[in-house]
């Protein structure tokens, strides 16, 4: 998919909560010997996916100077909405002082709901229906106590103010692609607190098949190869998968390093690839080309190509993601359980 009229990222921001828990702390409670990552973030008792979205949006708006009265859409991708029925955008519009003449909706597609929101906002801008729009990926993801997901399900998010390229953008969207199939790797039924997963479907039939198919189709359609990209971000449910899929597709460790955050912050679900994109934009230079390939269980994958412009130097996120990484503080399992509200389950 290629927008007829140029669309790009006008401003961006990312946020992660202050608290992390070491995987070894979780493993000591449940008697597990090996763990998938080193640590993961979790929300404070007063945070949820909406407050994380607010933080990321505020950084994106203030760092870029985007005109709040011209934002025509705010779409939030999340699988941990604070309200089952009441869009998070309703609160964000008033909290951020945006125009109330605005489209707003919650998007859900497991871990790729945020990139789905980017596609939708891009289309509205490219068609001329709106001039500016915000796409957000944010989650405080859930893992049942003792389940494999508890080791990686983390919290964080990123927001992107998109606009017509003619307004001046920090990165232009060259093209994108989406690939979807019915795959039973992971789901959460309506009203259930925790998701379930079918263990053997997680890797090859879900994550690897969808990302590789989506990226290969994207390369064939638009004539790209891994050498055309300075950086790449792949969905990161753990440390191993994004490194392995990068290698399978022909990317090097140097290309994925700036956006690979899962070893420290865990899987931020709808935020995962978008927080990685924000971290990559924090260090990118004008002219850099970035590949992003998200993955959402169920399952699907979106692939994008972004080209960074000269405006990146003046509109980088302030504070950058690095500032939030530098303030992380480690907590034990008992604090984690209390802040996540698991004592009252």
């Amino acid at each position: 998919m290629k927008p007829v009229n140029g669309v790009g990222i006008f401003g961006y921001g990312a946020y992660i909560p202050r608290y992390i828990i070491e995987n070894s702390s979780i493993a000591s409670v449940w008697g597990k010997l090996s763990t998938p990552i080193k640590s993961k973030t979790f929300p404070s008792y007063d945070e949820d996916s909406l407050t994380i979205a607010y933080e990321a949006c505020r950084i994106a708006l203030e760092s870029s100077g985007a005109p709040r009265d011209k934002i025509g859409a705010i779409y939030i991708g999340s699988e941990s909405k604070p309200y089952a029925v009441k869009p998070s955008g309703t609160v964000l519009v008033d909290a951020l002082g945006l125009s109330r003449n605005i489209l707003s909706a919650d998007f859900e597609f497991a871990c790729k709901a945020g990139t789905e929101a980017i596609q939708a906002v891009s289309g509205l801008i490219a068609s001329g229906m709106i001039e500016f729009g915000i796409a957000i990926g944010t989650d405080t993801s859930q893992g049942r106590p003792g389940d494999e997901l508890e080791y990686t399900a983390a919290a964080g998010g990123a927001a992107f103010v998109l606009s017509r390229a003619s307004n001046g953008v920090v990165a232009e969207i060259e093209a994108s692609n989406s690939y979807v199939s019915d795959t039973p790797d992971f789901w959460r039924r309506s009203g259930e607190k925790y998701p379930r997963h079918l263990y053997r479907f997680t890797g090859e039939p879900a994550y690897f098949h969808h990302i590789i198919t989506s990226v290969k189709h994207f390369f064939e359609e638009y004539g790209y190869s891994p050498r055309d990209f300075d950086y790449a971000i792949f969905h990161q449910p753990n440390s191993k998968f994004p490194q392995r899929v990068a290698k399978m597709l022909g990317f090097t460790m140097d290309q994925i390093r700036p956006g690979l955050l899962s070893p420290i912050i865990g899987n931020t679900y709808s935020g995962a690839t978008l927080v990685g994109l924000a971290a990559t934009l924090d260090v990118s230079k004008p002219g850099d080309r970035i590949l992003l390939a998200s993955f959402g269980s169920g399952a699907g994958s979106d692939a994008f190509s972004f080209v960074v412009t000269d405006l990146i130097e003046e509109r980088r996120a302030k504070p950058p993601l690095k500032s939030f990484l530098e303030r992380l503080v480690t907590k034990d399992y008992s604090t984690y359980v209390r802040y996540r509200g698991k004592l009252w389950v």
Binding site: T51, E55, D94, A95, G97, P319, Y339, G341
Partner: protein, 131 residues
């Protein structure tokens, strides 16, 4: 209907909107509905700066039920960059990290909820400045 009362207050809670006296320039947070306490002048709404410094604080150990998840928590007396002074809960700071004079900034958090099915009340808290 306290949930509705909370909702009516949302804009000043969400955006740090206070009052400014048109005669003497005094500022107040929360905003006042009547006139200036200092000179009796007319007040208008004004969005206050998000940064300030911590003048004093206290630690609450005996929390009301709605704050049971937060206890112990810190309430700060804060002076914003424009001189406005206000009380607010602090967040993202440990008891052994909080210090008088530390730079703080407004953040947006859950304040409390009306049970599992009622409204979630959001509003301003302050945290150590992140740059």
């Amino acid at each position: 209907m306290p949930e509705i009362t909370e909702w009516r207050d949302r804009l000043w809670r969400y955006r740090l909107v206070g009052s400014k006296c048109l005669s003497c320039g005094a500022r107040y947070y929360p905003p006042r509905n009547s006139s200036c306490i200092k000179c009796g002048g007319e007040l208008v709404d004004v969005e206050l700066p998000r940064r300030g410094k911590l003048l004093s604080y206290t630690v609450i150990y005996q929390a009301p039920g709605i704050y049971r998840f937060a206890s112990p928590y810190i309430v700060g007396f804060i002076e914003l960059e424009d001189g406005t002074r206000l009380f607010a809960m602090l967040t993202d700071v440990e008891l052994d990290e909080v210090k008088v004079g530390m730079e703080v900034e407004a953040t947006f958090r859950k304040l409390y909820t009306y049970g599992d099915s009622g409204h979630i009340v959001y509003g301003i808290k302050f945290r150590p400045l992140v740059t």
